[in-house]
């Protein structure tokens, strides 16, 4: 009887210890592992001619592959933006990828463009807000002869 009692107590202690370990481990996992170095970028003076590319670096600091599962595209006033890559991007463990946005201007002037990127982090789906500011400058006209 004494042996059974000791064995039961031992099992209870082992299970309790496992429980504590399981509780500690997820709390460490529940921290976001994907980050973007410069979520706000001031482009300064930008020519309104053609398409402007803006580069964001997405860093995966976890032990497993994570993904960029989407990005919004929108037009705000006369300025439009969309992601350069129109597909899901896998970021291998402990590495980084470049997320490029294509910006097109319909008119010169200051702009403040918010945008979103959707990432699969270890915690689940996260929305990271990005922002681009600057001043659109119309290209200089050639001098008339």
């Amino acid at each position: 009887m004494r042996f059974i009692s000791l064995l039961a107590a031992l099992f209870a202690v082992i299970l309790f210890a496992t429980l504590i370990v399981l509780f500690i481990q997820p709390s460490e996992l529940l921290l976001s592992k994907l980050s973007i170095s410069d979520t706000t970028q001031d482009l300064g003076d930008v020519s309104t001619e053609g398409i402007t590319e803006v580069n964001f670096t997405v860093i995966n600091s976890s032990n497993r592959s994570l993904r960029i599962v989407g990005a919004n595209m929108q037009c705000l006033g006369k300025i439009c933006q969309k992601p350069k890559v129109d597909a899901i991007v896998v970021i291998p463990a402990h590495s980084e990828v470049h997320h490029v946005r294509l910006i097109s201007f319909g008119a010169p002037g200051p702009f403040d463009l918010p945008m979103s990127i959707f990432v699969e982090d270890v915690t689940g789906l996260r929305t990271i807000e990005l922002r681009i500011t600057g001043v659109g400058i119309a290209p200089a006209k050639p001098p008339q002869q």
């Binding site: 039961a8 209870a12 429980l19 993904r67 699969e120 915690t123 996260r126």
Partner: protein, 341 residues
């Protein structure tokens, strides 16, 4: 002569009491619009409660383009319309010569989202937001009761608008003639000066309405697109599905009405089919499409492992206490027996 005059007045009187124009035309149209609304709501209620009706649409666009070149495109689109509790879903599978593209706009109790795929399997996220605010993305149909209603009740619509919406427009004169069968509704615009400001709106038309089912059967309407009037001829065929009359087929011909010539642009045949298919609630969630669920969102999952561990701890703990108690009691009993002997 006097008899003739009297006969004329009596005839005129009877004609006037027969004419809906002199019998409160506005009230007649309003009551008719209400009637249509009720029928549409009945369809919506049955659709909402059943949650098993899906709509497939195939379109055949053929005819001549602006320069008279022959155009023929076939596209197949299937809409899955579901309104169940807080869940709504609009799915479009568009097939054409470019391949198949799928877009899904949906919402559940936790969030609303837009996703799309170029191959019907690898979906990417376009927008996600609160289920109440569901992001308004111009590229996708917003999963709201209003947008779903417009797909369900197409046989009560005139050129994309419900009669109630046309009544509210102050620039239109609507005349409903219920003395003929089918009924005839005439639409005329009071102000045609600035067509640029009328983009997407109906400016005139004549439609025939089934007096029994209150459905729009056929007609011709003129709408405006980028300052130019377009004439649309349409012909609807509906079929009874249980208690509901649903649009089975719509033939549509669109013409560009320039000042002199009439150029046929295309000829669309749209078929609406209603399938009864039972699907799971998982379809309203991102994980169904291979995308992660937003952080902090958990759906019904099997009992977590820690619950089983906790239960195991309890059972073994109790067993240990029980064994210890039994051991002490046994030793006490044996001491008592020994002292007694």
């Amino acid at each position: 002569m006097v008899r003739l005059v009297i006969a004329f007045f009596i005839t005129s009187f009877f004609i006037s009491i027969q004419s809906p124009l002199l019998l409160g035309q506005d009230e007649t149209i309003k009551s008719f619009a209400d009637d249509q609304d009720k029928k549409c709501n009945a369809i919506m209620n049955i659709m909402c409660n059943s949650s098993e009706i899906y709509q497939d649409i195939s379109s055949d666009y053929s005819g001549l383009d602006k320069v008279g070149k022959s155009v023929h495109i076939i596209s197949k689109t299937s809409f899955i319309l579901r309104l169940l509790d807080n869940n709504m879903l609009l799915r479009m599978d568009l097939q054409d010569d470019q391949g198949t593209r799928t877009t899904v706009s949906a919402k559940n109790i936790h969030y609303g989202f837009y996703i799309d795929s170029k191959d019907t399997t690898n979906f990417k996220l376009i927008e996600i937001d609160d289920p109440v605010r569901v992001p308004d993305n111009s590229l996708y149909m917003k999963p709201t009761a209003e947008s779903i209603r417009k797909y369900i009740c197409k046989n009560y619509m005139i050129g994309g608008s419900f009669l109630g919406e046309l009544i509210e427009r102050e620039d239109l004169i609507l005349t409903l003639n219920t003395n003929v069968s089918p009924w005839s509704l005439n639409i005329l615009s009071k102000n045609l000066k600035n067509l640029q400001s009328m983009h997407g709106k109906i400016i005139e038309g004549n439609v025939l309405i089934d007096s029994d089912t209150k459905e729009i059967r056929s007609g011709q309407i003129v709408t405006v697109a980028q300052g130019k009037p377009y004439t649309m001829n349409f012909n609807n065929v509906s079929k009874k599905h249980g208690l509901l009359y649903l649009l089975e087929r719509m033939d549509l011909k669109v013409y560009s009405t320039s000042d002199i010539t009439v150029i046929p642009l295309n000829n669309t045949i749209t078929t609406y089919r209603y399938n009864v298919t039972v699907r799971s609630d998982a379809e309203f969630r991102l994980s169904y499409y291979g995308l992660p669920e937003p952080e902090g969102i958990s759906w019904d999952r099997p009992t977590p492992n820690y619950i089983w561990l906790l239960a195991g701890c309890g059972v073994f703990g109790l067993l240990a206490v029980l064994c210890s108690y039994l051991r002490r009691r046994n030793s006490r009993t044996s001491i008592t027996k020994e002292s007694a002997s």
